[in-house]
Assembly symmetry: C2
Homo-oligomer: 453 residues x 2
């Protein structure tokens, strides 16, 4: 009885002393990142010295060396490359989409367009059938043969979380070309997956169905999509699509892996990562330069504060998220082959915006444990820790090893304005917002490392 | 007994039916603002057609007419102007700050500088005494006579809420000049109140103490402040300040007031507002074009949805927040003179960023009532409704009439990058973020109107 009473008295005290200790350490993380953080400067060098870096490109190879060098310099215990074959898609020069005829009259109106990622080039000129969605396509399937199908499916502005709109309209980019080719279409145009107020087209991977012809396909900026849509309502419109994309043979790519060695359980791993590749048309600043420099900054600050982790923490810059996911697959395959114990993985791949929380995919007990830390992270912007979330690159870890996952969730109201568009450049990333993301991520990693899951 | 039981059964049901009804109406507000909202387009016309609009300027007079016309067109029951005298400070052309000598050697290094608002122009060339804060000034007060004092007080990056850093360093802008003049300084330079990564100087009002000479004073961009600071550590540096600001006689300005007439208590008022004036050097996009178009958008959407308010809702574009507050004072004075009942006032003056909540200054019962609505606003971004807050223009209402106040709190990590600098332009406002602010404000106004306080 006495012992239990004592325990009951002591536990809250311990809990509170622990809380204080953790809260002091996370404040140190925050102060250091906001004062000495390198994430913004690193993002500058990645985006401005290297720029767009699709898997297989020379720029991606440069980025691998950049990541290796940077993480060594910042004091990783070890840095190594993890080789994997990656697809080698090249856009070729000069995607071109033009309105060539309206009601039989010759026109010469260039639309701003980008071929969809993983699509194959082609030169077609044909009448346009403009549809608002797949339902309309199915209803009018008999009109499709020999035509260019234009999907003008809007990015729903009423969803408060824009990624919901992305998920909904994303099927037009992924499946639109083959669903149109099935009925004999010779080309496809889509309205870009965005609400941006500019006219930048947004690329991103399409996924051909091998059963149908692999027809050329491109995304239009919003102003041009609107223009074409309106024109098609009252006119017969002919459009020419000229794209030059092709797949070269698969080539060698690498994940960059840095480690801070665990002092107590070095064979138990915590992974923090983002993807090093980006689309070819921009600087990949938010997608996913931000995740890359978040990852490196978490390592930098833990090292700078002299933190000695209990578990081994891996900082991984993944290859090929955008058009193949081979980096993430490789990482999980290797982990399984080596029979590694992975207790947690965190990815940042939703941009370098002001933090709002984390999404966690884990057994309920682990989720609740993470949620119990909310008061420690709340002062730095983490408002919610919700069920569900992770990241494309760490997904295979969960599938292969049942690793609990978390995804960093920033405020992403601006994300789809720049996502996969030419405008995803360094200038559209804010230093404080970027650094605050690293603060919250480092805080979470510290807590997972200290208390386990 | 039976009645009480019935009531106990019915009340939660009513509460829940009410909750559902409110939640449906707020969803309608959100859908309408995010689909048909005019705030972004209005901000474009205010910032691009009129631009900077300091009280007393021709541009401010144009903005008054603009506001009147816009609110009439959007269906206000009445729109009228409320006249008040406003200060008429003019910068004059070409603020200039130059390093003219280093250790006796002639130099010609121009620093990017802006005279502080409400300061008087002057031409002085003198040695610089660079201090980090008032403590150092006091310690070295005997060295100050005949010199230019340069305060290099930093904007503390470790505060998660940047307005805390603003409050702390703001005293150097407001009181720095007179505190230096007291010891015989002939001019003052300050480090701009920002953490921005560019070199833009940030103006803003200073407040001379009439007991001391009104010496010229200007703010330096961060890169130039750093440069001057470093130079002063090892060299004797002379600087020339040339500013040309003056006060012309007070002139006529106006608040623009639009009303939606109350159907049940037309003589009880709810105020929503932002300030129409801005500094002269920029477009006043976030400060406070955003608050202006938030205010108009709240009116637009309530009107568009056919909402008939119980109380009279006033939509007020205040004059002269930046350098005098005469508009807010006038509004409260008139309210008191007419013995008006003001049940609530809400201001938006922290920028057009993604919403995070509201700060409320009200009796505890009113605060708790507002906080009980959090679940209704949370889906739209309101994370917290906290004690304390309001706005400069509605402050006098609280002082004169004890009106409960609220201030809209957006995520303001980027605010002080542009605040009072040339970079506060339309291009730095994001459409979705701006419109989401209006959604949350309109939701709150609807709830206050429906349930009272």
């Amino acid at each position: 009885m006495k012992k239990i009473l004592l325990l009951a008295l002591v536990l809250p005290f311990l809990a509170s002393a622990q809380f204080t200790e953790d809260s002091i350490f996370i404040k140190k993380i925050s102060d250091d990142v906001l004062t000495n953080g390198k994430a913004y400067d690193l993002l500058h060098s990645l985006t401005k010295k290297i720029g767009g870096r699709l898997a297989g490109s020379p720029q991606f190879a440069q980025a691998v060396q950049w990541g290796k060098t940077v993480m060594k310099e910042l004091g990783a215990d070890t840095v190594y490359l993890q080789e994997t074959m990656v697809p080698h898609w090249v856009r070729g020069n000069g995607d071109k989409v033009m309105i060539t005829e309206e009601n039989g009259k010759t026109k010469n109106i260039t639309l701003d367009a980008l071929a969809l990622g993983n699509s194959l080039g082609g030169n077609v000129t044909a009448s346009v059938i403009a549809v608002k969605d797949f339902t309309e396509l199915e209803r009018r399937k008999d009109e499709v043969k020999g035509k260019i199908v234009f999907y003008n499916y809007p990015f729903n502005p009423t969803y408060i979380v824009p990624s919901r709109a992305y998920a909904e309209s994303g099927v037009y980019r992924r499946n639109g070309p083959s669903r149109a080719a099935k009925y004999g279409a010779v080309g496809v145009l889509i309205r870009s997956l965005t609400e941006a107020t500019d006219n930048n087209p947004h690329t991103g991977a399409t996924a051909y169905n091998d059963s149908f012809p692999k027809i050329p396909c491109a995304a239009l900026g919003l102003a041009d999509a609107e223009r074409l849509w309106v024109m098609c309502q009252s006119s017969t419109v002919k459009v020419a699509i000229h794209t030059h994309a092709q797949f070269l043979p698969d080539t060698i790519g690498h994940n960059v892996v840095a480690e801070l060695k665990g002092t107590e359980q070095p064979d138990h791993y915590i992974t923090v990562g983002g993807h090093l590749d980006s689309w070819d048309v921009n600087e990949g600043a938010h997608d996913d330069g931000a995740g890359v420099v978040h990852t490196i900054e978490v390592m930098r600050v833990l090292k700078a504060l002299g933190y000695r982790p209990r578990h081994t923490i891996r900082f991984v810059l993944f290859a090929n998220e955008e058009n193949g996911l081979r980096g993430g697959e490789k990482y999980a395959t290797m982990a399984k082959e080596k029979n590694e114990q992975h207790i947690f993985a965190l990815e940042s791949d939703e941009g370098g915006f002001t933090p709002r929380g984390f999404g966690v995919t884990a057994p309920i007990a682990s989720l609740q444990k993470i949620q119990s830390w909310l008061p420690l992270l709340k002062p730095y912007g983490t408002e919610t820790i919700s069920a569900g979330g992770g990241g494309a690159d760490i997904g295979p870890l969960a599938r292969n090893l049942k690793t609990p996952l978390a995804g960093f969730i920033p405020d992403n109201q601006r994300y789809f304005d720049v996502h996969h568009a030419r405008s995803d450049v360094f200038e559209n990333v804010n230093k404080r917002e970027l650094h605050l993301g690293a603060v919250n991520m480092a805080g979470l990693i510290y807590l997972v490392d200290k208390y386990g899951l």
